[in-house]
Symmetry: C2
Subunit: 197 residues, 2 copies
């Protein structure tokens, strides 16, 4: 999606070690007008799919998911990291590793909110190694829900996650796929995606 | 707001110890259509205020904040719990106590995203003892930002947070204020708010 690629070029900050900071518009400050355009693009890309729920994971996925769900007129369920004493113990549960935070999280979704009747659009801001996404796919599979598609903001195309998920045959639409980036020159190369706007 | 009060009566679950579970529509599964109506009510209640940003705290505040920000056409900034290695160390920081999770969190906002130019609407799903909200007010004060108002989904009117915040002279609009609830009968008494819809 050209709008997102242009914004990453303009406001993204590349750090050594293939770190891309987009905290001024995606995952700390959130540009909701941009999210709305992203939501409309996913609506177009997943048109005709019987999506009845958006699934994401806390925390930075929630904002994008809420705007997408508003566009699709469906509810959101967000998977929670770690156990809250306010939750029922009747949950689907899996573990995911966060490289950013160097931790392993328990990730849970209440069995009440993921069922075999659900046709999910999974949404998240980033896809790199795919750990979070594989965790969400596992929760959906445990619940017997159908994953109609996956919408990702920014995919690091040089890491394994995208390939891993595409090999499962799920329609994955990352609105910007970074092939390479250079922290010294600031140059970013995006993968061409002619079917996107 | 009658719509929210009715929904709490219908789908809220009262547990012993004054615990109210609203995870089927507010803070695990999120009813975005309801959030949109809440956002419109806040837009009406804070009409005329020069709000240029919504401030909230991860995680369950983010969904409501995103929908409110979409309605007001402004960005969201969410305060983060605990330090991520992807963040700059140039942050406003405070501590808040979570009674639900029995922990003390560091809460941070990048100095880039809260400034003296900001006129904030602070949004969160719940207000009980007010710890999270006092933390957000402190971050806003550190930044020299103006708090134009506070929008809360559900306030536990029998806990101290609401009184504490109102005594500071900030316009606080909780869309449902629970005066009392009874886990044996399921009865909930809401505080009358004739100025709300």
């Amino acid at each position: 999606m050209k709008l997102l690629e242009d914004r990453i070029r303009k406001d993204g900050i590349i750090r050594e070690g293939n770190v891309l900071k987009v905290d001024s518009f995606i995952n700390h400050q959130m540009d909701i007008a941009l999210f709305r355009e992203m939501a409309r693009e996913w609506k177009r890309l997943f048109a005709g799919k019987p999506i009845n729920k958006v699934l994401t994971i806390e925390a930075s996925g929630i904002g994008i998911a809420a705007v997408v769900a508003s566009e699709l007129n469906v509810p959101v369920v967000f998977a929670k990291k770690s156990m809250s004493i306010n939750l029922d113990y009747d949950n689907y549960e899996t573990q995911i590793q966060s490289f950013t935070h160097k931790k392993i999280y328990n990730v849970i979704v209440s069995k009440k909110f993921l069922t075999p009747e659900d046709h999910l659009l999974i949404v998240d801001d980033f896809l790199a190694n795919g750990c979070a996404l594989m965790g969400l796919l596992e929760l959906a599979a445990e619940a017997g829900a159908t994953v109609e598609g996956i919408g990702i903001g920014i995919e690091k195309g040089f890491q394994a996650g995208g390939e891993l998920v595409r090999s499962k045959g799920v329609q994955l639409e990352s609105l910007a796929i970074i092939e390479s980036m250079d922290s010294t020159t600031g140059e970013i190369v995006f993968r061409p995606q002619p079917h996107q706007s």
